[in-house]
Amino acid sequence: MGEIKLMKGNEVLAEAAIRCGCDGYFGYPITPQSEVMETLMVREPWKETGMVVLQAESEVASINMVYGAAATGKKVMTSSSSPGISLMAEGISYLAGAELPCLLVNVQRGGPGLGTIQPSQADYFQAVKGGGHGDYKLIVLAPSSVQEMNDFVDLGFELAFKYRNPAMILADGAIGQMMEKVELADYKPRWTKEEVAEKNGDWATTGKPASRKKNVITSLEMASNDMEVRNINLQAKYRKMEEEDVRYEAIQCDDAEFILVAFGTAARVCQKAVEVAREKGLKVGLLRPVTLFPFPKKIIKELARKTAGFLSVEMSAGQMVEDIKLAVYDAGSNARVDHFGRMGGIIPTPTEVVEALEDKFSWELSYGVKRSY
């Protein structure tokens, strides 16, 4: 059993980074995630583990510092919130193009524009579909508790290095700001120079010894044939993620006639909504995608064959709902997919979710569930 503490989600990100042997954090202040860097600066990990912490002049700079440090084969990260992630979009595209492992955290707030500092999930498209230019994917992890903020730091690095790809923790202002009990991980030492060379020496710019060819980190190919090959290889990598690293949680889905699909804070609300609905006699389950990319298509396809409808509950105008529809379409199912969301930084209540379910699926509820398989 690890050390147990009561901590904020943002503080836990910092603590988990130090404990998992992270080599560097580069960031820029933005609400509601500023506690990440503040906690690191108080902890002074450079004295303890040798981890570097640097406040950059902008998010544009911090993501490029991550690029430079990641390209030397070290475990480095940044965190920000929605408008800051938009500024990082260029750098994230370069990181994905150059296949650099690193950890990014988006503690989302409401948008568009300057928006609000209240929690939101409206950056789903940006995180899952690309956000920057070109055909690329991030590994996207959606924590729904402070404990998962802790766990996903280590998991994010593990997946990032497994695939040589940036991983993102897509949290929101509620998970970042709220305090919960958390079991902290034990300390793992930072990789030694020898370990970095052993694990990443075939690509990382660690300095060229006479014994090997020079390592060059770039996303540039002048010949379109070469660039297409790069893209084909990237796509093959993304397919492998879909085969091997989908994560989700299915709650009371076995006998469910309606499935709520929600991640992060919205999933917490939906967990209560399932209880409220079941008290009313409605057979409702919850599917919580933990990886937003790779998206849990297979389980949705399976559920689509025995479920009347899916309600995507999001703190946005409806983004993940499109991926659910694609999966249900692929399954050849007649299950209906609808969306309920609140925007502008508002968290829906469980009662609102159940009312929305009753409203949007009133036909099925009045005339009986038409099995779609």
């Binding site: 700079a61 030397t72 020079k214």
Partner: protein, 273 residues
């Protein structure tokens, strides 16, 4: 340079003598790869690459070196010097170099940037990297024009100078003034050695090599940021022959961008100029 004694018939050498290793007076440094350079004839990039490759070899720091290539004509710098390289996004090289240097304090990290990259789109990154006093070398090629994209105006384009986006000459009412960014950099306490050089003459090449050697040594000694501007030609962009471009540079660029050291101290000290 030590001259070798000639042992054959007085005053003559045959080809076999000339090829003997002991008669070698000059060779391409082994750190310069055999990849044919894509630079235009007369361009300063090739000379500056050669100097850097020679110094990295002579100073024995190949294993510690990580170069950061820019977006611009030198985007392929990584094809020519046999060290580890990273390709940065346009203007971001100083931030990328910061990341490398911070988590690898023993590395010798340098950026190689043009005027559009450094003084325009990357103005914030270069100012802040220098202000933090990152232990990196910045090589700044100033030819007053965007070479790779086809000869558009740069922040350093001279007043009245014709470019693809100033077809009637740079008009200061419209486009502002040519930027002496190196003078601004010299004001920052994070920098240790700030100098402006040119490589259009044999003497210039030697001076530039001395300056770069000192700059590299400062980085190795962790004295802060070293910044070497090289006033350069772009004969393709300027639409001049290599010889005419050198002359034009001497008559127009160097009066506005005078050569010489602007700062020589250690991090934390303010420049006098």
């Amino acid at each position: 340079m030590e001259l070798k004694e000639v042992t054959k018939t007085e005053g003559t050498m045959d080809i076999q003598d000339i090829l003997k290793p002991e008669n070698l007076v000059y060779q391409k440094t082994k750190l310069l790869t055999d990849t044919p350079m894509h630079y235009c004839p007369g361009c300063s990039h090739g000379v500056v690459h050669k100097i850097l490759a020679e110094l990295i070899d002579e100073m024995g720091i190949q294993e510690r070196s990580v170069g950061v290539a820019p977006v611009g004509c030198a985007v392929f710098a990584y094809n020519y010097i046999d060290i580890d390289w990273q390709e940065a996004a346009h203007g971001r090289a100083p931030a990328v170099a910061t990341g490398i240097a911070r988590v690898n304090p023993d590395a010798f990290v340098f950026t190689y940037q043009g005027d559009g990259d450094l003084a325009s789109i990357g103005a914030a990154e270069i100012m802040h990297a220098c202000n933090r006093g990152e232990n990196i070398l910045v090589v700044f090629i100033n030819n007053g024009i965007y070479g790779m994209t086809g000869g558009q105006m740069a922040p350093t384009t001279l007043e009245g100078m014709v470019t693809a986006t100033t077809p009637y000459g740079r008009n200061t009412d419209l486009n502002g003034y040519p930027m002496r960014i190196t003078n601004l950099i010299a004001q920052l306490p994070g920098t240790s050695y700030v100098t402006r050089q040119a490589v259009h003459t044999a003497g210039g090449v030697r001076k530039c090599k001395r300056a770069l050697k000192k700059a590299i040594q400062n980085v190795l000694d962790k004295k802060g940021t070293s910044f070497v501007e090289v006033v350069s030609t772009c004969n393709s962009g300027w639409k001049l022959s290599p010889v005419a471009a050198n002359k034009w540079m001497e008559e127009n660029m160097i009066p506005y961008y005078p050569l010489g050291d602007m700062k020589d101290s250690v991090k934390g000290e303010h420049s006098e100029n």
